[in-house]
Symmetry: C2
Subunit: 269 residues, 2 copies
Amino acid sequence: MEEWYGEKQTKDVMISFKSSKIIYSGKSKFQDILLIENETYGRILMLDGTVQLTEKDEFIYHEILAHIPLMSLTEPKKVLIIGGGDGGLAREILKHSVSNVDIVEIDEEVVKISKKFLPFVSSSYSDRRLRLFIEDGAEFVKKSKGKYDAVLIDSTDPVGAAAVLFTEEFYRNIKNLLKKDGIIGSQTGSPFMYPGHLKMAYENMRTLFNTIKIYTAPVPTYPGAIWSFTFATNGDLKRKRTRNFRTMFYNEEYHDTNINPEFIKELVH
Amino acid sequence: MEEWYGEKQTKDVMISFKSSKIIYSGKSKFQDILLIENETYGRILMLDGTVQLTEKDEFIYHEILAHIPLMSLTEPKKVLIIGGGDGGLAREILKHSVSNVDIVEIDEEVVKISKKFLPFVSSSYSDRRLRLFIEDGAEFVKKSKGKYDAVLIDSTDPVGAAAVLFTEEFYRNIKNLLKKDGIIGSQTGSPFMYPGHLKMAYENMRTLFNTIKIYTAPVPTYPGAIWSFTFATNGDLKRKRTRNFRTMFYNEEYHDTNINPEFIKELVH
Protein backbone atom coordinates (compact mmCIF):
# COMPACT_ATOMS: atom_id res chain seq x y z
CA MET A 1 0.00 0.00 0.00
CA GLU A 2 1.38 3.38 -0.98
CA GLU A 3 1.13 6.28 1.42
CA TRP A 4 2.70 9.67 1.87
CA TYR A 5 4.63 10.57 5.01
CA GLY A 6 5.46 14.18 5.71
CA GLU A 7 7.61 16.20 8.07
CA LYS A 8 6.49 19.68 8.93
CA GLN A 9 9.82 21.48 8.71
CA THR A 10 8.20 24.65 9.97
CA LYS A 11 4.54 25.23 10.76
CA ASP A 12 3.87 26.00 7.11
CA VAL A 13 6.48 24.09 5.10
CA MET A 14 6.36 20.34 4.65
CA ILE A 15 8.48 17.71 2.92
CA SER A 16 6.71 14.44 2.08
CA PHE A 17 7.81 11.08 0.81
CA LYS A 18 5.70 8.39 -0.77
CA SER A 19 6.51 5.05 0.78
CA SER A 20 6.59 2.08 -1.53
CA LYS A 21 6.83 0.04 1.68
CA ILE A 22 6.62 0.66 5.40
CA ILE A 23 9.56 -1.21 6.79
CA TYR A 24 9.01 -0.53 10.46
CA SER A 25 6.64 1.53 12.54
CA GLY A 26 6.74 1.55 16.31
CA LYS A 27 7.22 3.45 19.51
CA SER A 28 10.25 3.22 21.75
CA LYS A 29 10.53 4.52 25.31
CA PHE A 30 11.69 7.81 23.85
CA GLN A 31 10.10 8.38 20.47
CA ASP A 32 8.02 7.26 17.52
CA ILE A 33 10.16 5.41 15.03
CA LEU A 34 9.14 5.11 11.39
CA LEU A 35 11.15 3.54 8.63
CA ILE A 36 9.90 3.73 5.05
CA GLU A 37 11.17 2.87 1.62
CA ASN A 38 11.10 5.69 -0.97
CA GLU A 39 12.26 5.35 -4.57
CA THR A 40 14.07 8.69 -4.71
CA TYR A 41 15.80 8.71 -1.32
CA GLY A 42 15.89 5.00 -0.50
CA ARG A 43 15.28 4.03 3.11
CA ILE A 44 14.19 6.92 5.31
CA LEU A 45 14.35 6.90 9.10
CA MET A 46 11.99 9.30 10.88
CA LEU A 47 12.02 9.92 14.64
CA ASP A 48 8.97 11.66 16.06
CA GLY A 49 8.04 12.62 12.50
CA THR A 50 11.42 14.22 11.76
CA VAL A 51 13.71 12.91 9.04
CA GLN A 52 16.79 11.53 10.74
CA LEU A 53 18.52 10.16 7.70
CA THR A 54 17.88 8.96 4.17
CA GLU A 55 19.91 6.36 2.34
CA LYS A 56 20.66 8.73 -0.55
CA ASP A 57 21.84 11.86 1.26
CA GLU A 58 23.16 10.72 4.66
CA PHE A 59 26.73 10.68 3.37
CA ILE A 60 26.96 14.48 3.35
CA TYR A 61 26.11 14.95 7.02
CA HIS A 62 28.16 12.00 8.24
CA GLU A 63 31.25 12.79 6.17
CA ILE A 64 31.47 16.36 7.39
CA LEU A 65 30.88 15.62 11.05
CA ALA A 66 33.53 12.87 10.92
CA HIS A 67 36.25 14.05 8.59
CA ILE A 68 36.65 17.73 9.48
CA PRO A 69 37.73 16.87 13.05
CA LEU A 70 39.54 13.60 12.29
CA MET A 71 41.54 14.96 9.36
CA SER A 72 42.52 17.86 11.65
CA LEU A 73 44.32 15.37 13.89
CA THR A 74 47.60 13.67 12.99
CA GLU A 75 46.79 10.37 14.59
CA PRO A 76 43.30 10.19 16.16
CA LYS A 77 42.86 7.05 18.22
CA LYS A 78 39.80 7.35 20.43
CA VAL A 79 36.52 8.96 19.39
CA LEU A 80 33.28 9.42 21.31
CA ILE A 81 29.94 9.83 19.55
CA ILE A 82 26.97 11.26 21.46
CA GLY A 83 23.86 9.98 19.69
CA GLY A 84 24.44 8.48 16.26
CA GLY A 85 22.92 5.12 17.18
CA ASP A 86 22.27 4.38 13.51
CA GLY A 87 26.00 3.85 13.04
CA GLY A 88 26.50 6.21 10.08
CA LEU A 89 28.89 8.60 11.79
CA ALA A 90 30.87 5.66 13.18
CA ARG A 91 31.15 4.22 9.65
CA GLU A 92 32.98 7.36 8.52
CA ILE A 93 35.18 7.53 11.63
CA LEU A 94 36.22 3.91 11.18
CA LYS A 95 37.74 4.84 7.81
CA HIS A 96 40.55 6.35 9.90
CA SER A 97 43.05 4.16 11.74
CA VAL A 98 41.40 4.77 15.10
CA SER A 99 41.66 2.19 17.83
CA ASN A 100 38.34 2.81 19.50
CA VAL A 101 34.95 4.42 18.79
CA ASP A 102 32.42 4.72 21.61
CA ILE A 103 28.78 5.41 20.79
CA VAL A 104 26.50 6.67 23.55
CA GLU A 105 22.94 6.32 22.30
CA ILE A 106 19.96 6.88 24.55
CA ASP A 107 17.48 4.82 22.52
CA GLU A 108 18.31 1.14 22.11
CA GLU A 109 15.46 0.72 19.62
CA VAL A 110 17.23 3.03 17.15
CA VAL A 111 20.26 0.75 17.27
CA LYS A 112 18.19 -2.42 16.88
CA ILE A 113 16.19 -1.09 13.95
CA SER A 114 19.27 0.30 12.22
CA LYS A 115 21.11 -2.99 12.61
CA LYS A 116 18.17 -4.83 11.14
CA PHE A 117 17.09 -2.51 8.33
CA LEU A 118 19.83 0.05 7.60
CA PRO A 119 22.98 -1.92 6.80
CA PHE A 120 24.45 0.98 4.79
CA VAL A 121 25.02 2.81 8.08
CA SER A 122 24.89 0.08 10.74
CA SER A 123 27.53 -2.10 9.07
CA SER A 124 29.92 -0.25 11.40
CA TYR A 125 28.63 -2.35 14.31
CA SER A 126 30.47 -5.36 12.97
CA ASP A 127 33.77 -3.51 13.50
CA ARG A 128 35.38 -4.66 16.75
CA ARG A 129 36.77 -1.20 17.45
CA LEU A 130 33.25 0.02 18.17
CA ARG A 131 31.64 -0.04 21.62
CA LEU A 132 28.02 0.83 22.32
CA PHE A 133 26.67 2.36 25.54
CA ILE A 134 22.91 2.65 25.88
CA GLU A 135 22.80 5.71 28.06
CA ASP A 136 21.89 9.37 28.28
CA GLY A 137 24.70 11.31 26.59
CA ALA A 138 24.54 14.26 28.97
CA GLU A 139 24.90 11.90 31.96
CA PHE A 140 27.67 9.91 30.30
CA VAL A 141 29.92 12.93 29.75
CA LYS A 142 29.37 14.02 33.37
CA LYS A 143 30.81 10.87 34.89
CA SER A 144 33.07 9.35 32.23
CA LYS A 145 36.82 9.35 32.92
CA GLY A 146 37.97 8.34 29.45
CA LYS A 147 40.04 10.67 27.29
CA TYR A 148 39.22 11.17 23.62
CA ASP A 149 40.82 12.75 20.58
CA ALA A 150 37.41 13.86 19.39
CA VAL A 151 33.90 13.98 20.82
CA LEU A 152 31.19 14.35 18.19
CA ILE A 153 27.57 15.22 18.81
CA ASP A 154 25.16 13.62 16.36
CA SER A 155 21.99 14.80 18.05
CA THR A 156 18.50 15.80 17.12
CA ASP A 157 17.60 19.51 17.18
CA PRO A 158 17.75 21.43 20.48
CA VAL A 159 14.08 21.03 21.31
CA GLY A 160 12.82 18.84 24.14
CA ALA A 161 15.29 16.30 25.53
CA ALA A 162 18.09 17.23 23.12
CA ALA A 163 18.18 20.90 24.26
CA VAL A 164 20.76 20.03 26.92
CA LEU A 165 23.15 18.96 24.14
CA PHE A 166 23.58 22.60 23.10
CA THR A 167 24.41 24.04 26.55
CA GLU A 168 27.69 25.38 27.89
CA GLU A 169 27.60 22.88 30.74
CA PHE A 170 27.42 19.98 28.33
CA TYR A 171 30.29 21.35 26.27
CA ARG A 172 32.35 21.90 29.45
CA ASN A 173 31.87 18.26 30.46
CA ILE A 174 33.01 17.23 26.99
CA LYS A 175 36.05 19.49 27.26
CA ASN A 176 37.07 17.50 30.35
CA LEU A 177 37.00 14.32 28.26
CA LEU A 178 39.24 15.70 25.52
CA LYS A 179 42.94 15.13 25.26
CA LYS A 180 45.08 18.24 24.83
CA ASP A 181 44.26 19.58 21.35
CA GLY A 182 41.24 17.27 21.17
CA ILE A 183 38.28 18.42 19.10
CA ILE A 184 34.58 18.81 19.83
CA GLY A 185 32.18 18.78 16.90
CA SER A 186 28.44 19.07 16.66
CA GLN A 187 25.69 19.32 14.12
CA THR A 188 24.30 22.79 14.81
CA GLY A 189 21.15 22.88 12.76
CA SER A 190 19.78 24.96 9.95
CA PRO A 191 21.38 28.42 9.91
CA PHE A 192 18.82 29.42 7.31
CA MET A 193 15.67 28.26 9.08
CA TYR A 194 16.76 28.28 12.73
CA PRO A 195 19.79 30.57 13.05
CA GLY A 196 19.27 30.65 16.83
CA HIS A 197 20.38 27.02 17.19
CA LEU A 198 23.71 27.69 15.52
CA LYS A 199 24.21 30.94 17.41
CA MET A 200 23.57 29.23 20.75
CA ALA A 201 26.02 26.39 20.08
CA TYR A 202 28.64 28.77 18.70
CA GLU A 203 28.49 31.18 21.63
CA ASN A 204 28.62 28.35 24.17
CA MET A 205 31.58 26.62 22.54
CA ARG A 206 33.45 29.87 22.00
CA THR A 207 33.67 30.59 25.72
CA LEU A 208 35.46 27.28 26.26
CA PHE A 209 37.82 26.86 23.31
CA ASN A 210 40.44 28.97 21.53
CA THR A 211 39.60 27.92 17.98
CA ILE A 212 36.11 27.56 16.54
CA LYS A 213 34.90 27.05 12.98
CA ILE A 214 31.56 26.59 11.26
CA TYR A 215 31.25 24.42 8.16
CA THR A 216 28.09 24.39 6.08
CA ALA A 217 26.79 21.87 3.57
CA PRO A 218 23.52 21.10 1.83
CA VAL A 219 21.46 18.27 3.29
CA PRO A 220 18.49 18.03 0.91
CA THR A 221 16.05 16.37 3.31
CA TYR A 222 16.67 18.61 6.34
CA PRO A 223 14.72 21.83 7.01
CA GLY A 224 16.14 24.71 5.01
CA ALA A 225 18.51 22.25 3.29
CA ILE A 226 21.57 24.25 4.35
CA TRP A 227 23.09 22.58 7.40
CA SER A 228 25.73 23.77 9.85
CA PHE A 229 28.43 21.92 11.79
CA THR A 230 30.53 23.60 14.45
CA PHE A 231 33.96 22.44 15.58
CA ALA A 232 36.09 23.76 18.44
CA THR A 233 39.43 22.97 20.02
CA ASN A 234 42.35 24.40 21.94
CA GLY A 235 44.57 23.05 19.19
CA ASP A 236 43.72 23.88 15.61
CA LEU A 237 41.40 22.71 12.85
CA LYS A 238 43.92 22.65 10.02
CA ARG A 239 44.00 19.51 7.94
CA LYS A 240 46.95 17.30 8.81
CA ARG A 241 46.57 14.49 6.30
CA THR A 242 45.26 13.48 2.87
CA ARG A 243 42.44 10.95 2.51
CA ASN A 244 43.38 7.36 1.85
CA PHE A 245 39.69 6.47 1.60
CA ARG A 246 36.81 7.42 -0.68
CA THR A 247 34.25 10.09 0.13
CA MET A 248 31.33 11.45 -1.89
CA PHE A 249 31.13 14.98 -0.47
CA TYR A 250 34.13 15.83 1.72
CA ASN A 251 37.39 16.68 0.06
CA GLU A 252 40.64 18.40 1.00
CA GLU A 253 39.71 21.72 -0.67
CA TYR A 254 36.44 21.85 1.25
CA HIS A 255 38.31 21.34 4.52
CA ASP A 256 41.09 23.81 3.74
CA THR A 257 39.03 26.71 2.47
CA ASN A 258 36.12 26.66 4.97
CA ILE A 259 33.97 28.93 2.83
CA ASN A 260 30.73 30.10 4.38
CA PRO A 261 27.94 32.12 2.76
CA GLU A 262 27.85 35.81 3.63
CA PHE A 263 24.69 35.46 5.73
CA ILE A 264 26.45 33.05 8.08
CA LYS A 265 29.39 35.39 8.53
CA GLU A 266 26.89 38.08 9.48
CA LEU A 267 25.18 35.75 11.94
CA VAL A 268 28.23 34.99 14.07
CA HIS A 269 31.26 37.21 14.24
CA MET B 1 -8.50 30.72 3.61
CA GLU B 2 -5.46 28.58 4.30
CA GLU B 3 -4.44 25.90 1.85
CA TRP B 4 -1.39 23.81 1.10
CA TYR B 5 0.31 23.95 -2.31
CA GLY B 6 2.82 21.31 -3.22
CA GLU B 7 5.41 20.62 -5.88
CA LYS B 8 6.20 17.05 -6.73
CA GLN B 9 9.97 17.29 -6.99
CA THR B 10 10.11 13.71 -8.16
CA LYS B 11 7.26 11.26 -8.50
CA ASP B 12 7.55 10.37 -4.82
CA VAL B 13 8.97 13.45 -3.08
CA MET B 14 6.95 16.60 -2.50
CA ILE B 15 7.57 20.00 -0.94
CA SER B 16 4.46 21.87 0.22
CA PHE B 17 3.77 25.35 1.46
CA LYS B 18 0.76 26.58 3.39
CA SER B 19 -0.50 29.78 1.86
CA SER B 20 -1.70 32.42 4.24
CA LYS B 21 -2.99 34.19 1.10
CA ILE B 22 -3.30 33.39 -2.59
CA ILE B 23 -1.98 36.49 -4.25
CA TYR B 24 -2.52 35.49 -7.85
CA SER B 25 -3.68 32.42 -9.70
CA GLY B 26 -4.07 32.33 -13.47
CA LYS B 27 -3.06 30.85 -16.76
CA SER B 28 -0.86 32.57 -19.35
CA LYS B 29 -0.39 31.51 -22.96
CA PHE B 30 2.50 29.34 -21.76
CA GLN B 31 1.87 28.14 -18.23
CA ASP B 32 -0.11 28.11 -15.02
CA ILE B 33 1.00 30.89 -12.73
CA LEU B 34 0.44 30.74 -8.99
CA LEU B 35 1.64 33.23 -6.44
CA ILE B 36 1.12 32.54 -2.75
CA GLU B 37 2.18 34.06 0.54
CA ASN B 38 3.89 31.73 3.02
CA GLU B 39 5.14 32.75 6.45
CA THR B 40 8.44 30.88 6.26
CA TYR B 41 9.48 31.64 2.68
CA GLY B 42 7.52 34.83 1.97
CA ARG B 43 6.04 35.19 -1.49
CA ILE B 44 6.39 32.07 -3.63
CA LEU B 45 6.04 32.04 -7.43
CA MET B 46 5.12 28.71 -8.98
CA LEU B 47 5.00 28.06 -12.74
CA ASP B 48 3.18 24.91 -13.83
CA GLY B 49 3.33 23.76 -10.23
CA THR B 50 7.10 24.20 -9.96
CA VAL B 51 8.68 26.61 -7.49
CA GLN B 52 10.33 29.36 -9.50
CA LEU B 53 11.43 31.54 -6.65
CA THR B 54 10.70 32.34 -3.03
CA GLU B 55 11.27 35.68 -1.36
CA LYS B 56 13.49 34.16 1.33
CA ASP B 57 15.90 32.07 -0.73
CA GLU B 58 16.01 33.61 -4.22
CA PHE B 59 19.15 35.57 -3.38
CA ILE B 60 21.35 32.47 -3.51
CA TYR B 61 20.43 31.50 -7.08
CA HIS B 62 20.45 35.03 -8.42
CA GLU B 63 23.72 36.07 -6.78
CA ILE B 64 25.65 33.11 -8.13
CA LEU B 65 24.31 33.30 -11.67
CA ALA B 66 25.11 37.05 -11.78
CA HIS B 67 28.30 37.56 -9.83
CA ILE B 68 30.47 34.61 -10.89
CA PRO B 69 30.49 35.80 -14.53
CA LEU B 70 30.38 39.53 -13.89
CA MET B 71 33.14 39.54 -11.27
CA SER B 72 35.21 37.51 -13.75
CA LEU B 73 35.14 40.49 -16.12
CA THR B 74 37.10 43.69 -15.56
CA GLU B 75 34.48 46.00 -16.92
CA PRO B 76 31.28 44.27 -18.05
CA LYS B 77 29.00 46.62 -19.94
CA LYS B 78 26.31 44.67 -21.79
CA VAL B 79 24.53 41.62 -20.41
CA LEU B 80 21.80 39.47 -21.93
CA ILE B 81 19.43 37.40 -19.80
CA ILE B 82 17.46 34.55 -21.37
CA GLY B 83 14.38 34.08 -19.19
CA GLY B 84 14.50 35.78 -15.81
CA GLY B 85 11.33 37.79 -16.40
CA ASP B 86 10.84 38.21 -12.67
CA GLY B 87 13.76 40.66 -12.65
CA GLY B 88 15.77 39.00 -9.85
CA LEU B 89 18.84 38.18 -11.92
CA ALA B 90 18.78 41.66 -13.44
CA ARG B 91 18.70 43.16 -9.93
CA GLU B 92 22.03 41.50 -9.14
CA ILE B 93 23.58 42.41 -12.49
CA LEU B 94 22.61 46.04 -12.06
CA LYS B 95 24.77 46.18 -8.92
CA HIS B 96 27.69 46.30 -11.38
CA SER B 97 28.41 49.39 -13.45
CA VAL B 98 26.95 47.90 -16.59
CA SER B 99 25.46 50.15 -19.25
CA ASN B 100 22.81 47.78 -20.52
CA VAL B 101 20.89 44.67 -19.46
CA ASP B 102 18.57 42.99 -21.96
CA ILE B 103 15.98 40.51 -20.72
CA VAL B 104 14.39 38.14 -23.23
CA GLU B 105 11.37 36.60 -21.55
CA ILE B 106 8.88 34.47 -23.42
CA ASP B 107 5.96 35.00 -21.05
CA GLU B 108 4.76 38.58 -20.61
CA GLU B 109 2.45 37.51 -17.78
CA VAL B 110 5.44 36.55 -15.62
CA VAL B 111 6.78 40.08 -16.03
CA LYS B 112 3.43 41.71 -15.28
CA ILE B 113 2.79 39.64 -12.19
CA SER B 114 6.33 40.12 -10.90
CA LYS B 115 6.08 43.88 -11.39
CA LYS B 116 2.82 43.95 -9.51
CA PHE B 117 3.48 41.51 -6.68
CA LEU B 118 7.22 40.79 -6.37
CA PRO B 119 8.93 44.16 -5.89
CA PHE B 120 11.95 42.56 -4.18
CA VAL B 121 12.99 41.18 -7.56
CA SER B 122 11.13 43.33 -10.09
CA SER B 123 12.39 46.62 -8.69
CA SER B 124 15.09 46.24 -11.35
CA TYR B 125 12.55 47.24 -14.01
CA SER B 126 12.66 50.82 -12.80
CA ASP B 127 16.35 50.97 -13.80
CA ARG B 128 16.68 52.67 -17.18
CA ARG B 129 19.60 50.45 -18.16
CA LEU B 130 17.21 47.53 -18.47
CA ARG B 131 15.39 46.60 -21.70
CA LEU B 132 12.73 43.95 -21.99
CA PHE B 133 12.02 41.82 -25.06
CA ILE B 134 8.97 39.58 -24.97
CA GLU B 135 10.21 36.84 -27.21
CA ASP B 136 11.37 33.25 -27.46
CA GLY B 137 14.96 33.15 -26.18
CA ALA B 138 16.09 30.47 -28.66
CA GLU B 139 14.77 32.56 -31.57
CA PHE B 140 16.25 35.77 -30.19
CA VAL B 141 19.80 34.41 -30.02
CA LYS B 142 19.48 33.08 -33.58
CA LYS B 143 18.85 36.46 -35.14
CA SER B 144 20.27 39.04 -32.73
CA LYS B 145 23.33 41.00 -33.88
CA GLY B 146 24.20 42.58 -30.53
CA LYS B 147 27.42 41.77 -28.73
CA TYR B 148 27.45 41.03 -25.01
CA ASP B 149 30.00 40.64 -22.23
CA ALA B 150 27.86 37.94 -20.68
CA VAL B 151 24.80 35.93 -21.68
CA LEU B 152 23.03 34.29 -18.76
CA ILE B 153 20.37 31.61 -18.98
CA ASP B 154 17.80 31.79 -16.19
CA SER B 155 15.56 29.06 -17.51
CA THR B 156 13.25 26.40 -16.20
CA ASP B 157 14.45 22.77 -16.28
CA PRO B 158 15.19 21.11 -19.64
CA VAL B 159 11.81 19.48 -20.00
CA GLY B 160 9.25 20.57 -22.58
CA ALA B 161 9.80 23.98 -24.16
CA ALA B 162 12.94 24.77 -22.17
CA ALA B 163 14.82 21.66 -23.41
CA VAL B 164 16.20 23.66 -26.35
CA LEU B 165 17.99 25.94 -23.84
CA PHE B 166 20.39 23.10 -22.99
CA THR B 167 21.43 22.20 -26.56
CA GLU B 168 24.73 22.74 -28.33
CA GLU B 169 22.98 24.72 -31.06
CA PHE B 170 21.59 27.17 -28.55
CA TYR B 171 24.99 27.60 -26.90
CA ARG B 172 26.61 28.09 -30.32
CA ASN B 173 24.19 30.89 -31.13
CA ILE B 174 25.02 32.49 -27.81
CA LYS B 175 28.73 32.16 -28.52
CA ASN B 176 28.16 34.29 -31.64
CA LEU B 177 26.68 37.02 -29.44
CA LEU B 178 29.62 37.12 -27.05
CA LYS B 179 32.47 39.59 -27.23
CA LYS B 180 35.96 38.08 -27.17
CA ASP B 181 36.40 36.63 -23.64
CA GLY B 182 32.67 37.01 -23.04
CA ILE B 183 31.04 34.53 -20.65
CA ILE B 184 28.04 32.25 -20.96
CA GLY B 185 26.36 31.11 -17.75
CA SER B 186 23.39 28.90 -17.06
CA GLN B 187 21.53 27.32 -14.22
CA THR B 188 22.10 23.61 -14.87
CA GLY B 189 19.75 21.97 -12.44
CA SER B 190 20.04 19.56 -9.55
CA PRO B 191 23.19 17.46 -9.82
CA PHE B 192 21.90 15.36 -6.98
CA MET B 193 18.41 14.63 -8.32
CA TYR B 194 18.91 15.06 -12.08
CA PRO B 195 22.62 14.70 -12.83
CA GLY B 196 21.78 14.23 -16.52
CA HIS B 197 20.75 17.88 -16.89
CA LEU B 198 24.11 19.12 -15.66
CA LYS B 199 26.00 16.55 -17.71
CA MET B 200 24.16 17.56 -20.89
CA ALA B 201 24.80 21.28 -20.42
CA TYR B 202 28.42 20.69 -19.44
CA GLU B 203 29.22 18.46 -22.42
CA ASN B 204 27.53 20.83 -24.86
CA MET B 205 29.30 23.92 -23.55
CA ARG B 206 32.65 22.19 -23.35
CA THR B 207 32.78 21.55 -27.07
CA LEU B 208 32.48 25.28 -27.73
CA PHE B 209 34.59 26.99 -25.07
CA ASN B 210 38.12 26.63 -23.69
CA THR B 211 37.30 27.21 -20.04
CA ILE B 212 34.35 25.74 -18.17
CA LYS B 213 33.48 25.66 -14.47
CA ILE B 214 30.64 24.34 -12.34
CA TYR B 215 29.61 26.12 -9.16
CA THR B 216 27.19 24.57 -6.71
CA ALA B 217 25.08 26.11 -3.98
CA PRO B 218 22.14 25.10 -1.83
CA VAL B 219 18.73 26.35 -2.93
CA PRO B 220 16.40 25.07 -0.19
CA THR B 221 13.19 25.12 -2.22
CA TYR B 222 14.52 23.43 -5.38
CA PRO B 223 14.48 19.65 -5.92
CA GLY B 224 17.43 18.02 -4.21
CA ALA B 225 18.34 21.41 -2.72
CA ILE B 226 21.84 21.30 -4.20
CA TRP B 227 21.87 23.40 -7.36
CA SER B 228 24.41 23.70 -10.15
CA PHE B 229 25.48 26.63 -12.33
CA THR B 230 27.81 26.22 -15.28
CA PHE B 231 29.94 28.98 -16.78
CA ALA B 232 32.09 28.88 -19.92
CA THR B 233 34.30 31.27 -21.87
CA ASN B 234 37.27 31.52 -24.18
CA GLY B 235 38.76 33.95 -21.68
CA ASP B 236 38.92 32.91 -18.04
CA LEU B 237 36.69 32.77 -14.98
CA LYS B 238 39.12 34.23 -12.48
CA ARG B 239 37.79 37.01 -10.30
CA LYS B 240 38.98 40.43 -11.46
CA ARG B 241 37.50 42.71 -8.83
CA THR B 242 36.27 42.98 -5.23
CA ARG B 243 32.62 43.67 -4.43
CA ASN B 244 31.58 47.23 -3.78
CA PHE B 245 28.05 46.05 -3.04
CA ARG B 246 26.42 43.81 -0.48
CA THR B 247 25.55 40.16 -1.05
CA MET B 248 24.06 37.54 1.24
CA PHE B 249 25.59 34.39 -0.25
CA TYR B 250 28.30 35.17 -2.83
CA ASN B 251 31.69 36.23 -1.60
CA GLU B 252 35.21 36.43 -2.99
CA GLU B 253 36.38 33.20 -1.33
CA TYR B 254 33.46 31.30 -2.84
CA HIS B 255 34.38 32.58 -6.29
CA ASP B 256 38.11 31.99 -5.96
CA THR B 257 38.07 28.49 -4.53
CA ASN B 258 35.28 26.91 -6.65
CA ILE B 259 34.92 23.91 -4.34
CA ASN B 260 32.62 21.16 -5.54
CA PRO B 261 31.54 18.04 -3.66
CA GLU B 262 33.32 14.83 -4.66
CA PHE B 263 30.21 13.40 -6.33
CA ILE B 264 30.14 16.28 -8.80
CA LYS B 265 33.78 15.83 -9.67
CA GLU B 266 32.99 12.19 -10.40
CA LEU B 267 30.03 13.19 -12.57
CA VAL B 268 31.94 15.37 -15.03
CA HIS B 269 35.63 15.06 -15.62
